[in-house]
Structures are given as structure tokens and as C-alpha cells.
């Protein structure tokens, strides 16, 4: 029996077989991926190997042995506490520290001289560590890298940043062992490739507790009630939610957006003032201190309920949680399972999730999600391939550390999954871009972030170095205003776009409190408690997640069954009357059909196309189709997409014959049409904002010279225009087009979808009223995009000066111009 098994025994625990399996692999210096549901002991599975090794070697812990990378800095603290506890209880002479953007400057300076035995950090902070000279020395004794929540990181540019960082470490320590921890994914092989790069074939896959039982139940509204088709927040199920919270010890109430979190917290609070001390709110915009306090109380079991967003999807276990409530569709199978897994931590317990639909169609989504989860049709995470902006940032990072020799660094970069197919041309372009700004800048020697000195490429000046460090964190667009009481207590952060709409004296709800805005100064919104609770609820960006392909397919299946009068469960039975209405006014689309509905209201023509392909694909599809229609006849079309389909509106008639629709939905000429359509929208320009930030074109400024997000965005737009005009072959422009095609329009899925649609039967209907399927799209048109092939000069004739949205403009656009 090893010391760790003994440690388990002292606590009357037994290690799970998958944990011992992982330890054994580690002992043989193998790398790999551990996948298991939340809260079954993945941490100890990865941590045990290095611990046992240290015990065996009587390791004194001088020098850094383990690097533990976590996606969220908020998780770093808890992880550190967990890991420290084992070190202490095993009497290991190891030190453990965190290094995140929250770490004090003095601690960071000390860590630069000597790292603790275990360092818990984020991908950004690892990158930052690589910018200080002495990298080799610093990681000389590193044995192991663990990446936590790898499924969360791998589909993002931060995941690529982590891949590059680890490749650097592997060059320093070729025998480095890497372990990734992941929830179950539909594409574990890709997860392994991204984690281990060129060494992925040696990786071992360790699976834990995949058979954990789960249960999905849905709250059904009273039969007598009329249930809205779309848009309602589902507060009418509040009483039922309260009953469930009352009946359990401790409940997590998940919502899909931060705004919904605020609304539900407020409503629960008002309905049950007696719970005031036992109710809490948790989301990513809240101040770290506030969040930690909530997490601590959750662990102690002193909270009745916490209303939260995905901020509590990840991370350490909250064993006392007995029940999980999901407000609104989970939109994905993996997320449903992840959240369900937050409850029922006792061995053998069942993970139970209670679904609260916020509109009738969501009942169908819960039903479909349960079916897909039982069939284990779990979503994959698609890794990002070859982003040049991240590579450019990495080049500057490495040049600031100890410099690099281009050929060697190129080989190293190509060991990663993200850049395994990097071409010589791309590599040369990136080198040129950091050294003299790319081919078009050859004539300007004054621009050089990186300069070759005797074969080694080094950063050009300490000023550029300082600025680069400040920018590294910017892969996460974390630009927001602090919300602070006048007496100094910080509540959290909030997007400028929301605060910008408020005037001093206006009230809003944030962090579960009613607040009144006093003034905004120095990137801080000063507030005081408001006496009345009425107020706008902040809207955060990026709140809505699209239905995953897996779930969309499952929903299509449910509709198909309904078409044939099969209603598989009580959720489906409940919405039977609604589907009957759809049937009466139009038709319920079967699996092998595309339903199109056409309608004319107030001289505006509407076309609805129900693909059931998920919002992302529908967005791409609708833009493409609108583009193709508008090239046939110059006009302006408004497009709206949701998970079920899309709507086109125009003042021109939209043809309703099958042949023309087959043509606009054809996959011929797809790429050319999409690129043309990107030019007609501003999508590329928007994607370029992130790229400009990551590649270091625009910067947030120094702490004492704060520059708000609006200037940053505007100047990236300006950069875009200048590049387009003066350097059209710039690879970053190309990347922004690729980013939109791959990430936003999901080109691959779009192509598949078009091919698949071509094989379906087209059903054209002309209902008199908005059908149950069409209504949500109609109700959502406020979020629509516009696509026009008319000349500006013609459009301007009917346009009016917009004096109302001036406030919006000041937020989104540049004031005068940023001074570097």
C-alpha cells in the first residue's frame, strides 16, 4: 500500500479505480487525458501521480515540479486550497502558490526569482512568465503540467495560447508529463491531440464514472395557464421553483444569462424575504471577494440556494448541493450533464436536474436533451487551428523571455495541434509582421517589435516589452467598468454598454441589489443603494448560447414524432395543443422536410425557413440566402435567426416557388458567396477587433492612462479600414475572414447543412397568422441583421438622421483619436 492509499484509508475512503489507474500511468511517466463527470475526483487522479513520485524520491520541493493550469482565475484559489491540503496532510516539504492577475506584485516578483514546488496559474499568466528572461532556469526541474477543465479551454484561442506555452515547456524539459482533465466530450481524440501535440499517440485515456446516474425532470406549467410562445422569462413557474428549493437542503439555480440570474435572484428574494440570509447570487461579473464568500458558504452548506450562471459550471465540488434547477433550455447535452453533475455527489447518488422552461418550445428542448443524454450524444469541442494573431503574440512573448532562434521555434510551434500544418509562408509572414510589420512595411525600420541580434530574435525595447506584458491578458476580452459603492466596496464589473445607457440617478439591479448610479469616473461606476427595487436589469454581452447540433437533431426528432402523433413524454404531451395549432395553420416539419412559411403583413413580406439546425448555422445560412436574394434584385433584407430557423423580411416580394429556393439554398459557389456576403455585413470587421487586440495592434493602455473599450474598438475598426486600403494582403485580414467563416458561420457545418437540406422535401405554406414556430422569430427581430445590395446613395434618400442613438455611438466609436 502506498502512502496515498494509506492517506485514503485514514479517511475511510477508497481510491476509485480510475484514480489508481492514472497514478500508475504517471509512475511510468506517461501523459494523457482523464475524462469523467464533474465531481468524481479527477483532481486527485491527476495530483496523485506527482505526489507519490515526490514521496518516493523524498523530494525537497526546491524548484517548480508541477504546473497546474486552470481556465479561470476564480478557480485558481480553490484549486490551490485543495492541493495544499493534501501536501500538508502528507507532510510533503512542498510549497504551493497561485499566480494569476490577482496575485500581488511582490509575490509575482519573488516567483520570478524562484517558483514554488507547485504553481497554480492560468494560460495568460503562464504566457506572462515566459516573457521574463531565465525561462529555462525557472522550469529546469519541472516534472508535470496539469490542465484542468481542458474541454473548456480547448475550443478557444486561450487554449491555443496554452498549447504554445506547453510546447515551450516541453522544449525545455523533453521528458515533461502532461495530463489534461476534461468533462466528457464527443471528440476526446481531438482533445488528446490538442493536449499532447505531436506526442498524442503516446497519450493514455483514463475514464472515470461514466455510468453515473442522472435524472432530468421538467416543471410543467398548470394546465389552465396560457403559456407564452416566446420570450417570457418563465417567472410564472416561480412558486413551483420555491417549493422545490424549500424541499431540499441546498440548491443551485442555473440560468443561461447573467441578466436572468439577477431577475431570478430578485424574484426569489422578494417572494421569500425570510430566506434573505440564505439566498445568494453568483456570476462572472461579480467581484471575486463576493464570489468566494458565496462559494465558501456553499461548501459549508449554509445556503439554501444560489442563483448562478456557468460561473459555477466549473471547478471544485460543492458536496452539500442536493439539487440543481436549470432555468431555460440547457441548449446542449454536455451542459445539461455538467450541471446535473453538480448535485448528488455522495457515492451512488443520482444527479438530478429540474428543468424550468421559459417558453413552450423549451419543453421540447428539455425532452430532447434528456433523450440525447441517455443516448450519450454529447457535443464535441472543435479546436482552433492556426490563428496567426495568437502566434504573433507568442513570438513577441518568447522574444521578450530569452529570445528565439527562428528555425528552432518554428519546429517547436509545429509540435502543437493548432499549428501542425503551419506553412513556411505563414511562419515567414508572422516573423516579418513582428519584425517590420509585414511586407508592406519594409520601408519603415522604426517599426520593430522584435529585432534579430546575432541569430537570436529579441524584443526591441523595454517599452515594447512592458506594453506587451500588459496586453497578454487580452485574449479574454475583459473590458468592463467596476461597480463600486462610494465608501469603496467593489461589487463587480459591468459592461460599459449598459452603464453608458444610464444617467446619474437611474436605478439598476446588480449583484442582487437595487442600485442607483451616482457617476462614472476612471472606469468605475459609483453607486449607492436605491430605495426602490424597480430598475433595469443589466444586459451582458454574449449571453445567449445556441442550440448544439446534437440537441438540434434531437429536437428535430421530437418534431418528427409529433408529426406522426407520437408524444414520447409528459413534456411533449404538454405542448401537444401548441403543435396541433402548428399543424392546423401550417404543418409540423418531419425529419426529411424543410418547412417554409410565407406571409405578408403591412406591405412587408416575411419568409420563414425552418431548418432545425441551431442558431449559429441558421445565422450563416440566413445571411447567405439573403445575400443571394438581394443580388437577384437590389433591395434591403432584414434577417433574424434562432435555433429553429430564420426569417427574412423585405419590402420586395419574396418568391415562394421551390425552384428558386433550391437555388438560393444550393451549396454551389458557397465560399465565394459567403465572402461576398461578409463584405455586405460588418462581420469581418467585428471579428477583426479581437484579432487586432491579440496581435497587439490596439492596446488597452497603461493603468495610469486608462483607455476605455470604445476607443479600443474604434481604433481596431480604423485599423481594419487602413489595412483594407493600404495593405489588402495582410494575413490578419485573411484571418478575420477565416474566423468568421469557421467560428461564426461554422463553414463546415453550413456546407453539411446545405447538402443535407438539398436532400429534404421543401414544404411551402402560406399561413394567415404567425405560427407557433414562426412567432419566436418574429418576436426576436430586434436582434436582426440587415443585408443590402442597394447603393448607399439610394438608401440615404429614405434614411433619417438618427439623433437618438448618439449615446450608443459615443460608446461604440472613437471620440477623437487615440494618442499612442
Amino acid at each position: 500500500m502506498n502512502r496515498l492509499q494509506q492517506w485514503f484509508q485514514e479517511r475511510d475512503w477508497t481510491p476509485f479505480p480510475f484514480q489508481e489507474e492514472a497514478w500508475n500511468h504517471y509512475a511510468r511517466r506517461r501523459s494523457g487525458l482523464i475524462h469523467a463527470p464533474t465531481g468524481v475526483g479527477k483532481t486527485l487522479a491527476a495530483w496523485g501521480g506527482p505526489l507519490l513520485e515526490a514521496l518516493d524520491n523524498h523530494d525537497d520541493g526546491k524548484g517548480c515540479r508541477v504546473l497546474w493550469i486552470t481556465p479561470l482565475r476564480a478557480l485558481a484559489h480553490d484549486t490551490a486550497e485543495n492541493l495544499t491540503a493534501t501536501i500538508r496532510e502528507l507532510d510533503l516539504p512542498w510549497t504551493l502558490e497561485c499566480r494569476t492577475s490577482d496575485t500581488s506584485a511582490s509575490m509575482k516578483a519573488r516567483q520570478r526569482k524562484s517558483l514554488p514546488s507547485t504553481l497554480v496559474t492560468t494560460p495568460e499568466s503562464l504566457s506572462l512568465l515566459l516573457t521574463y528572461p531565465g525561462v529555462d532556469e525557472r522550469f529546469r526541474s519541472l516534472r508535470c503540467v496539469v490542465i484542468d477543465e481542458w474541454h473548456e479551454l480547448m475550443g478557444s484561442k486561450r487554449g491555443v495560447q496554452a498549447e504554445l506555452g506547453i510546447a515551450r515547456l516541453r522544449s525545455i524539459r523533453p521528458d515533461l508529463v502532461t495530463w489534461g482533465l476534461s468533462a466528457t466530450l464527443g471528440n476526446l481524440d481531438s482533445a488528446m491531440s490538442c493536449l499532447l501535440g505531436s506526442k498524442h499517440e503516446d497519450g493514455v485515456l483514463v475514464a472515470g464514472h461514466l455510468d453515473k446516474a442522472f435524472e432530468v425532470v421538467t416543471l410543467l406549467p398548470e394546465d389552465s395557464e396560457r403559456f407564452p410562445w416566446a420570450g417570457h422569462l418563465g417567472l410564472r413557474l416561480l412558486d413551483q421553483v420555491i417549493d422545490h428549493i424549500e424541499s431540499a437542503g441546498s440548491t443551485l439555480v442555473f440560468t443561461n444569462t447573467r441578466s436572468q440570474t439577477e431577475i431570478w435572484f430578485r424574484s426569489l428574494y422578494n417572494a421569500r424575504p425570510d430566506w434573505a440570509e440564505q439566498l445568494a447570487i453568483h456570476h462572472g461579473s461579480l467581484d471575486q471577494k463576493v464570489r468566494r464568500e458565496v462559494e465558501q458558504r456553499l461548501r459549508e452548506g449554509s445556503l439554501k440556494a444560489v442563483v448562478c450562471t456557468s460561473s459555477l459550471d466549473l471547478g471544485v465540488d460543492f458536496t452539500p448541493v442536493e439539487q440543481v434547477i436549470q432555468i431555460g433550455s440547457p441548449k446542449g447535452v454536455a451542459r445539461l450533464l455538467q450541471r446535473a453533475g453538480r448535485s448528488g455527489h455522495q457515492p451512488g447518488a443520482v444527479s438530478r436536474i429540474i428543468g424550468v422552461p421559459t417558453n413552450a418550445l423549451e419543453l421540447m428542448e428539455f425532452s430532447a436533451a434528456r433523450a440525447a443524454a441517455i443516448a450519450r450524444r454529447i457535443e464535441p469541442r472543435h479546436p482552433i487551428v492556426g490563428p496567426l494573431d495568437v502566434l504573433i503574440q507568442h513570438l513577441v512573448t518568447v522574444s521578450a523571455g530569452d529570445g528565439f532562434e527562428p528555425d528552432a521555434l518554428c519546429d517547436e510551434v509545429r509540435t502543437t495541434h493548432a499549428y501542425r500544418d503551419l506553412t513556411d509562408e505563414e511562419w515567414r509572414w508572422a516573423l516579418e509582421f513582428v519584425s517590420f510589420g509585414g511586407p508592406s512595411l519594409r520601408a519603415y525600420p522604426e517599426h520593430a517589435r522584435v529585432t534579430p541580434v546575432d541569430d537570436r530574435w529579441r524584443i526591441s525595447s523595454s517599452a515594447i516589452e512592458r506594453r506587451h506584458r500588459m496586453m497578454i491578458g487580452t485574449i479574454t476580452a475583459d473590458s468592463a467598468l467596476r461597480v463600486k459603492f462610494m465608501n469603496g466596496k467593489t461589487l463587480g464589473t459591468i459592461e460599459e454598454s449598459f452603464i453608458g445607457r444610464l444617467k446619474p440617478g437611474n436605478r439598476f439591479v446588480f449583484a442582487g441589489r437595487a442600485l442607483e448610479l451616482i457617476r462614472v469616473r476612471d472606469m468605475t461606476a459609483y453607486v449607492k443603494r436605491a430605495t426602490s427595487v424597480r430598475g433595469a436589469v443589466p444586459r451582458w454581452m454574449g449571453g445567449r448560447s445556441p442550440l448544439s447540433t446534437e440537441l438540434a437533431d434531437a429536437v428535430r426528432e421530437r418534431l418528427h414524432e409529433a408529426r406522426h402523433h407520437e408524444f414520447a413524454d409528459e413534456e411533449m404531451e404538454w405542448i401537444e395543443p401548441l403543435l396541433a395549432l402548428q399543424s392546423r395553420w401550417s404543418v409540423i416539419p418531419a425529419r426529411d422536410e424543410v418547412l417554409m412559411e410565407f406571409m405578408t403583413k403591412k406591405r412587408t413580406h416575411h419568409a420563414y425557413v425552418f431548418t432545425l439546425a441551431g442558431r449559429l448555422v441558421n445565422e450563416g445560412l440566413s445571411a447567405l440566402v439573403a445575400y443571394r436574394w438581394t443580388t437577384k434584385a437590389p433591395q434591403t433584407m432584414t434577417v433574424t435567426a434562432n435555433d429553429y430557423g430564420f426569417e427574412l423580411t423585405s419590402t420586395h416580394t419574396i418568391p415562394a416557388d421551390e425552384a428558386s429556393w433550391r437555388e438560393v439554398l444550393s451549396s454551389d459557389n458557397l465560399l465565394d458567396d459567403l465572402l461576398a456576403c461578409l463584405n455586405a455585413t460588418q462581420m469581418t470587421q467585428r471579428a477583426f477587433r479581437d484579432i487586432a487586440r491579440i496581435a497587439g495592434l490596439v492596446f488597452a493602455g497603461t493603468p495610469n492612462q486608462r483607455k476605455s473599450m470604445r476607443q479600443l474598438q474604434a481604433s481596431s475598426d480604423l485599423f481594419y479600414q487602413v489595412f483594407e486600403e493600404f495593405d489588402p494582403s495582410n494575413c490578419l485580414l485573411d484571418q478575420s475572414r477565416r474566423d468568421v467563416l469557421d467560428r461564426e458561420m461554422e463553414l463546415t457545418r453550413l456546407r453539411e447543412c446545405l447538402t443535407e437540406l438539398a436532400s429534404r422535401r421543401f414544404i411551402m405554406r402560406h399561413p394567415q397568422e404567425f405560427t407557433p414556430l414562426a412567432f419566436p422569430l418574429w418576436a426576436e427581430r430586434i436582434r436582426s441583421q440587415h443585408l443590402s445590395t442597394e447603393r448607399w446613395q439610394d438608401r440615404i434618400q429614405r434614411m433619417v438622421l438618427d439623433l437618438e442613438s448618439v449615446a450608443d455611438d459615443q460608446r461604440n466609436e472613437q471620440r477623437i483619436q487615440p494618442t499612442p
Binding site: 517599426h447 434591403t636 423580411t649 446613395q793 440615404i796 438622421l801 438618427d802 466609436e813 472613437q814
Partner: protein, 232 residues
Amino acid sequence: MTSETSNASSQRLEWAGESWMLLAKRAAIRERTHTAYVADLHFGKASAFRAAGVAVPGGTTERSLAQLSQVIDEHAIEQLIILGDCLHSKAGRADSMFQTVADWRERYRALDIVLVRGNHDDRAGDPPASWAMQCVDEPWSADGLVHVHDPDVAPGDQFTLAGHIHPAVRLRDVDRSTARFPCFWCQPKCMILPPFGVFTGHHVVRPRASDSVMIIVDEEIIDVSRHTAKSR
């Protein structure tokens, strides 16, 4: 204040009791004196970014100068008045850019150029002697007009030309989509010019009903003064 409504590369405007020509090339011409007015050139802004290690493509100064040449040649301009922000910043004082402008100046030796110093000029310093510009502080009065960079400095009761704001307006279509265009913002007493520099942004302003607004769309200038929200 009256104006013709034709979509073209220039718009005529009666302002301050005389005839003006506003160009899509972002210059205003006082026809009686053959004077061209431009604002906010921001020469050296691209160089300043490059000096800070940010890769801005070259060619912006050349583009500005080429447009200036067209204005001067096509309208037989005898005097050019720059309403501030000729140079962007100290860091942008690059030799190559200085030389490019000096060479251009050589071609237009006979032209009289006045620079009304703006906030950027105060920090960036005056242009080199080789550019042969008369540099004056705002407000600068000449020939019945006041010239300023910052319209806040305008005396209010006298006809004034200004820059600094980088004005733009937003127009809304019937489908609620909006678009933003740089503009000449002509108030009864003060005319604010759009920035002439290529590498400059804009700031959306809120004109009054009594103002004339001429927007720039590609190569055209369009009067949108009467496009106020009738629908509301």
C-alpha cells in the same frame, strides 16, 4: 443658408454671406478668395503607431497629399488654411514623413499655407521650416472670418471655421438599421469640417434643425439637412 440638392463630388452652400463649395474630398472652398480649408491632417499618426511597435501600413501621408493636390489643382487654390492638428504627435515626427511633405511643398511653392495650431500641434510642435507654413494660434481672424481648431474657442457671434470634432452623423433606415458617415457640420455661425487625414476616426454629433449637414459617401457629398426624423 441654402444649398442645392444634387449628389455629386461637391455641394454649393451660401454661408457667412458668400458662396462656398464643400468637397467630398473633405475640403471647404471659399470661392471669392480661392482659399481651401482643411482640418485635422494628423500627419505622422501612422509613424507614431509604428514607433510604438504597431504595424500600420504605409501610404497614408501620400494619400492625403495626393488628395490635397487634387483639390488645389482642380480649384485653382491660392491659399490653404489648415484648421489645426497638422502633426499628430512628437513620436510621429519621422524623417521620412517630413521629407515626403517637404517634397510635396516644393511642387506647390507659390501656395500660401496657414496653420491654425490645434491641441495636437501644441504637443507635437510646429512643422519644420521646409514646409513653409505660417503658424498662428487660435482664434485667428482674417478677411472677415475667425479660424479656430476647437469650436469651443469660437467667439459665437462671428462666422467661424473649425475642426477638432471629427464630426459624423448616423442615419437610420426604415428597417432600423443604421450607418455612420463623416460630415461637414454647418451651424449658422460655425462651420465644422470633417478630418482630412486618412488615418483618423470620427465622432457622432447631434446637429440642430437650423444646421446644414453634408455627409460624405465614397466620392460623393450629399446634403442630408432635411433628413430629420419625420416619421416620429
